[in-house]
Amino acid sequence: MAINIDTVYKQFGALKVVNGVSVDIKDGEFFVMLGPSGCGKTTTLRMVAGLELPTAGRISIDGADMTYAEPRHRDIAMAFQDYGLYPNMTVFKNIEFPLKIRKLDVRERARKVEDTAEKLGLGELLQRKPSQLSGGQRQRVSLARALVRNPKVFLMDEPLSNLDAKLRAVMRTEIKKLVTNLGITTIYVTHDQIEAMAMADRIAVMSKGNMVQVASPLEVYDRPKTRFVAEFIGSPPMNLFPAQIKAGGTVTCILPNFAHSLCEEERAFAAQIVDGKGGLLLGIRPEHLVVAKAGAQGATDALVELVEPLGQTTNIYVSVGDVRFVIVTDRTTAKAGDTIGVVAPSDLLRVVANDDAVVRH
């Protein structure tokens, strides 16, 4: 079911947590809200769930206004970071609970519980209590409880963040497969960019109560619109260089060789950034920089400060005067103290707006 969030605000006393968030989530979409802690992503999710009421704005699910509806009337399911299992009930009873509240027939209940448990590999564990399960199993139970009643919308609040790294990767693919197969509209909250990139149909990057950019994972990665997005996504993050736009639309950069052949699309975006002074940055992903011979045609000479061989890739930290940045390449013979040439391919250079810059649309 489609979800429509329309200029929603949330304030706790004087604290503004969500500042006018608007977004349309399509039927069957896997929508991820990504951001650091305190950015308002969980509060936004909780408002969709009905666990918090917005200070202003409107939330509708499947066309119906649900802004102030009780959670039980929204036909949503939710998975919590700490699982939210009922500790006094067995796994079976936990999964059965939403069906019991809906007064389904006992045999129908048992059949559904067993089906769902089977799907999530919980068949053997039905008679256990949550305290006798591992973290991964508990999260599976919470997913089963959410899925057993075929909800319209599935909300997930950092469901994997209490699991260890290996299990997290496994569960990530499992959840994605499961939800995609069922075609349920899902809103997923996380602070983990890898999770967001891997699972999302669309990512909303959030900062200070705003959705800074809403786009597909690759779009967010390739064309971050603001400094926050550029620095939050990617590891190591995008290299950013102070730049300026001159009268007539020419963009100049602190590293002159980088700016001279900016593509048309980026130039157009640069023109939209109203506040030219310090409002403009040029960005390029570390893996898009090309290492050349020092002094080569079109290359900028840089001093190698540190080399980090990671096996699959190598991080080269370099400086040009006061400007420091990082290059990700295959294996290299360069070592600290060497001078190398760096080429920034013009089609991969991006114009990025500074966080407080005003962008005209």
Binding site: G50, G84, P98
Partner: protein, 279 residues
């Protein structure tokens, strides 16, 4: 583990047990003495040195029921304390839930105000209560003591249950609401079962306070609504103390509490160690 270390650890375990047994004996002895005294005759009680073997008699218990009208007092106590405990538990738990979970304006102040009832020495409130009761025409009826005990138990229930409720992760309740429960259903089906150990522990303590309460009971009753502690005090007669009678009254007063604690034991052990719900 080497031999000397085994010796050392078993020696310290032995010392710990010895200490525990000594402490248990120390605290159990008065109870033992009370129980035996209640079965002794007047002569055996006053014998010096104390007699350890004697012919048990039920004379004190008989006297308790004939002379002091203990049967009526027992019924009064059970009715008054039982009802007062129920009221304090129900009202207190709901108030505690509101204080733990809702955005009540001036919540901390409210909680403190409730606690301040407890700070008032009971003797201060006796006279006003007496006057009010006279006006309302409920003096020497069970209702007066029920109200008084419920009120004095309430702050304790609110404060203790609030901690127990805060100990339950909020996500459990949120999960229930999303699973289709209303607020009340959530409380009834999910929160309350998790609170049982805490409820049991709190209830036993509230019950015991009211069951043993003497001051209010002696001032606010005269004939009809007398409770067990009041009639037990009647064993102290103008000329002498009837030790046998007093002991018998003591045993009778203790029995219901012992039974209650035994019944609740399963919950008590978990309830008295806070945070039993986590995990």
């Amino acid at each position: 583990m080497s031999n000397s270390r085994i010796l050392k650890s078993s020696a310290s375990a032995l010392a710990a047990y010895a200490l525990a047994i000594a402490a248990a004996l120390f605290f159990a002895f008065p109870i033992f003495w009370m129980v035996t005294s209640s079965f002794k005759s007047e002569v055996d009680i006053s014998a010096y040195p104390p007699v350890w073997s004697f012919t048990p008699t039920l004379v004190n218990y008989a006297q308790l029921f004939t002379e002091l009208n203990a049967w009526q007092a027992l019924i009064n106590s059970a009715l008054i304390v039982g009802l007062a405990t129920c009221i304090a538990m129900a009202a207190g738990t709901m108030a505690a839930y509101a204080l733990a979970r809702f955005d009540v304006k001036g919540k901390e102040f409210l909680a403190f105000e409730i606690l301040s009832i407890r700070m008032l020495p009971p003797i201060v409130s006796v006279i006003p209560m007496f006057i009010i009761a006279r006006q309302l025409g409920i003096f020497d009826t069970p209702w007066l003591l029920i109200a008084a005990y419920a009120l004095s138990g309430l702050p304790f229930v609110v404060w203790v249950m609030r901690v127990f409720i805060q100990d339950i992760p909020q996500s459990i309740e949120e999960a229930a609401m999303i699973d289709g429960c209303s607020r009340f259903e959530t409380f009834w089906r999910v929160t309350l079962p998790l609170l049982l150990p805490g409820l049991a522990a709190t209830m036993v303590i509230v019950f015991m306070f009211a069951w043993n309460e003497f001051l209010l009971a002696s001032m606010l009753t005269s004939q009809e609504a007398k409770t067990l502690p009041v009639i037990a005090a009647n064993a102290i007669k103008p000329k002498a103390i009837a030790w046998g009678l007093a002991s018998a009254a003591g045993v009778m007063m203790s029995l219901p509490v012992v039974v209650l604690v035994l019944l609740m034991q399963r919950y008590l052990v978990r309830g008295l160690t806070l945070g039993a719900v986590k995990g």
